[in-house]
């Protein structure tokens, strides 16, 4: 297991241990380079601060990793990553929130939420490790075969008379149940039925409003969003606009009102023009399409 090298500051020196199968997902970050699992265990052991990790980069690398496997991607690995990444994201959000003084109950609740998230990450990690031990155990036990041979003829006659315990009618019901097709395990996609929301569509929409009004608040710009997913898409759209230099942000206090100001820019306008003409483009930020199990 990796130990922190005191001379390396926030750099984590990674001893070359554990099985790095070609299949496993590796991340390459400024603070850390190595298998994702190890990154997780370092965070869980508080040897690495989650706020130092660029999660977007981790996510990009994971998507690239999945794509590189082509048709052959691993559903287990992908869903495990999603669970962990979502928890890390929650954790990072909670960690970035102000923690100087605990004034009111809201702050206290936030601190508790942070601890719960952290605990959840640890717990997830623990079961993963225990599952590995069980797998090892199953494999080892599979190499031992129990004695299971027919009774010696001399003793057969001594076996007690069999009790079926059911009548003919119940027996038929047992047969029906025994022969019922077993449901194939499928990954539930019930929670993924959210409509697709395009970040760029939202960007075009917000740009039009801001161009007309000159400025607005995040609260106002999302008042008509309807679904959480649209709020998220609009938040990401604003980040995109910020990257294009089309808007600036101002926030007087932490968690206070977020003011957005339109910045006229030819470059940004040209880009927005292009986005407006793209129809049906699927963006990385779109809601995931329902995925059938391969």
């Amino acid at each position: 297991m990796a130990s922190r090298d005191p001379s390396a500051g926030d750099e984590i020196r990674l001893p070359d241990v554990e099985d790095h199968s070609a299949e496993s997902f590796h991340v390459h970050l400024a603070q850390f380079e190595g298998p994702f699992d190890l990154l997780l265990s370092l965070i869980a052991k508080r040897q690495l601060d989650v706020t130092l990790i660029a999660l977007a980069q981790v996510t990009d690398e994971f998507i690239a990793h999945i794509r590189s496997r082509g048709e052959d991607w691993d559903l287990d690995q992908a869903s495990a990553f999603l669970v962990v990444a979502a928890t890390l994201l929650d954790l990072k959000v909670a960690r970035l929130l102000p923690s100087g003084e605990v004034d009111d109950e809201d702050d206290l609740a936030l601190l508790e939420a942070r601890d719960l998230l952290f605990a959840r990450l640890l717990q997830y990690r623990a079961y993963k490790e225990l599952a590995a031990i069980m797998a090892d155990r199953f494999a080892r036990e599979g190499r031992r075969f129990p004695r299971a041979v027919p009774m010696e003829p001399t003793f057969l006659a001594l076996l007690p008379e069999v009790l079926l315990g059911v009548g003919a009618e119940q027996f038929a019901a047992v047969a029906v149940r025994a022969m019922a097709p077993r449901p194939e395990p499928v990954v539930s996609i019930d929670h993924l039925h959210a409509p697709k929301v395009s970040v760029r569509e939202q960007a075009v929409l917000l740009a039009a409003r801001l161009r007309a009004a000159g400025q607005g608040t995040f609260r106002g710009l999302t008042a008509d969003a309807g679904a959480v997913l649209v709020v998220v898409a609009r938040f990401l759209a604003l980040l995109e606009l910020y990257r294009e230099g089309a808007v600036t942000f101002e926030q007087m206090s932490p968690l206070g009102e977020l003011h957005v100001r339109w910045v006229p820019s030819d470059v940004a306008n040209a880009e927005l023009e292009r986005w407006a003409h793209e129809t049906g483009e699927i963006d990385d930020y779109d809601a995931p399409a329902p995925q059938e199990q391969p």
Binding site: R143, V162, V176
Partner: protein, 200 residues
Amino acid sequence: MTEAHDFTEHHADPGTPLPELRTALEAVLLVVDEPVAEVVLAQVVERPTEEVGALLREMAAGYDTEGRGFELRNVSGGWRLYTRESCAPYVERFVRDGQQARLTQAALETLAVVAYRQPVSRSRIAGIRGVNVDGVIRTLVSRGLVTEVATERESGSILYGTTAYFLERLGLGTLDELPPLSDYLPDPYSLDEDDVSISH
């Protein structure tokens, strides 16, 4: 072996030395379910038949002098472990008192598949049940409820069917008196896995 199993102990890596010939033979003899010819055992342990035969005779004599609870006997051209004759009173008591009269749920379900699908091979039953059924079939055969009825022409698989004793235990005269399955199938439109799996 200690009482508490060491959970973290690692399983044998490929580098584990192979066991002695005697140990290997003893292990194979523990799982064979009918007398096995010397030549077959010799193939399994990859040694000359004469060497294996001599060792088997030596092992059999050893079990006798050590007073083991089992004997290694060469019956009808093959070797198999049997309980020692002097221990018969205990084995009989165990078989009479220690064995379940009632079939387990798994055995009952497998029996139902055999009854309605006969003649049927083990692999087909395993496919329907979703689990290996070798042990259960062995139990059903030894309890006299199921028997080998034929061999599949192409695959050579043994096909199983139910016995007269089975009909007697179920209180039926002939197999035709088994209730038709269609009476017990749920309405196709309300077919729901819960309907199928809840019997109680």
